[in-house]
């Protein structure tokens, strides 16, 4: 249906559409809210990432940072964590990690005390494949996973 050459829908297409159009529309507003948060973080980062990264702020007036994941990163308040957030008391020393696995990105909770959740759901995760735009909650911080190369 090119606007330069508008082709009217056929009877078969209309009939097919009429069978699907009565279905209830899925409520995607929680997704829209997460996208709004993602857009805001992407706007706030100095240089938009060009590879899989976590975007977050250390809280307060701290700037938004983007950390490339590369071959894998750990996040926690311990000094041995790749992303060390020592002032975040609700984070475990090694809270969660993200690493590549078989061409996808895997998030694992590292046995943290307060747990890791995704996209605002209550369920604590132990392991989850990530997709572009997922929001990870840990401690009192949130981390946006982005994968612009995909």
């Amino acid at each position: 249906m090119n606007p330069n050459d508008p082709t009217p829908p056929t009877d078969a297409e209309l009939a097919a559409a009429s069978m699907t159009v009565a279905l209830p529309q899925r409520d995607t507003s929680p997704l829209r809210d997460r996208l709004a948060a993602a857009a805001s973080l992407l706007q706030s980062v100095d240089k938009p990432p060009t590879e899989a990264s976590l975007i977050f702020s250390r809280g307060g007036s701290a700037p938004v940072e983007a950390v490339p994941i590369g071959s894998g990163i750990t996040v926690g308040r311990g000094s041995d964590a790749t992303v060390c957030l020592e002032k975040c008391a609700d984070l475990s020393r090694r809270h969660f990690c993200v690493r590549p696995q078989s061409g996808v990105w895997l998030l694992e909770d590292l046995g943290s005390r307060n747990g890791t959740t995704i996209d605002g759901a209550d369920e604590r995760i132990t392991r989850r494949l990530l997709k572009d735009g997922d929001i990870i909650f840990a401690g009192d911080l949130l981390f946006l996973f982005v994968n612009p190369a995909d």
Binding site: R26, L31, L35, A39, S40, L129
Partner: protein
């Protein structure tokens, strides 16, 4: 972190992009993308993943995308993004299932690639048709939900265009002349085409409708 804290964190961030272009894009295309993903074999959950990942691309690219360059370009751009995201979501879903069995061997990976390639070749045959049908689904939903359309016109259109009832029978049922039934059908068809053409071209939406 409790739910209230999570919502508060999200709320603070989402205020910052309240008027962004991507929101208009989302309002226009989210149902089309979900519908297209389902037609490519995605379940509801996977379709929403496709929508999320497609929107992330849009959020990054939309500020620099030139709508006026070529009308056909927008359709191709969007279709390419969504098709790719459907493929990625399927791949992730397969890997997820294999990982849940705890070991992903080289044989598993080979088998995964083979299966995905086979699925791709069958799915891509009708991409254009699926996209057109998804646009039509959404256009029809908008036309039928448009509060400016008389309920009788909707019923007449349903009967003659969607359910295939003879015009004579529809006219008699609604106490109309046959010519009036044809006019209603033609008006609604024109409206459908306008909405689909606007969505295909990435143009400004036709006049707003209820619920949008």
């Amino acid at each position: 972190m409790d739910l209230a804290t999570r919502l508060s964190l999200l709320d603070r961030l989402k205020q910052a992009s309240a008027d962004a272009d991507w929101r208009h894009f989302y309002a226009k295309y989210n149902a089309v993308i979900l519908s297209f993903a389902r037609k490519q074999g995605a379940d509801d959950h996977t379709a929403e993943d496709v929508l999320q990942e497609s929107m992330m691309v849009v959020i990054r690219k939309l500020p620099t995308f030139d709508y006026d360059a070529q009308q056909g370009r927008f359709r191709n751009w969007l279709l390419t993004i969504v098709t790719h995201k459907v493929r990625e979501a399927k791949r992730r879903s397969h890997v997820d299932r294999l990982l849940s069995m705890d070991a992903l061997s080289a044989d598993d990976e080979d088998s995964l690639h083979g299966r995905l390639a086979a699925e791709d070749s069958s799915a891509t045959e009708n991409l254009e048709d699926s996209w057109r049908q998804s646009l039509l689904d959404e256009a029809l939903r908008r036309v039928l939900a448009d509060s400016r359309t008389k309920p009788e016109s909707v019923e007449v259109f349903r009967a003659c265009a969607l359910e295939g009832q003879p015009v004579g029978e529809v006219a008699a049922r609604f106490g109309l002349k046959e010519n009036a039934v044809y006019q209603i059908k033609n008006r609604m068809m024109t409206r459908l085409q306008e909405i689909v053409a606007a969505m295909e071209g990435g143009q400004a939406a036709p006049p707003p409708i209820a619920g949008e």
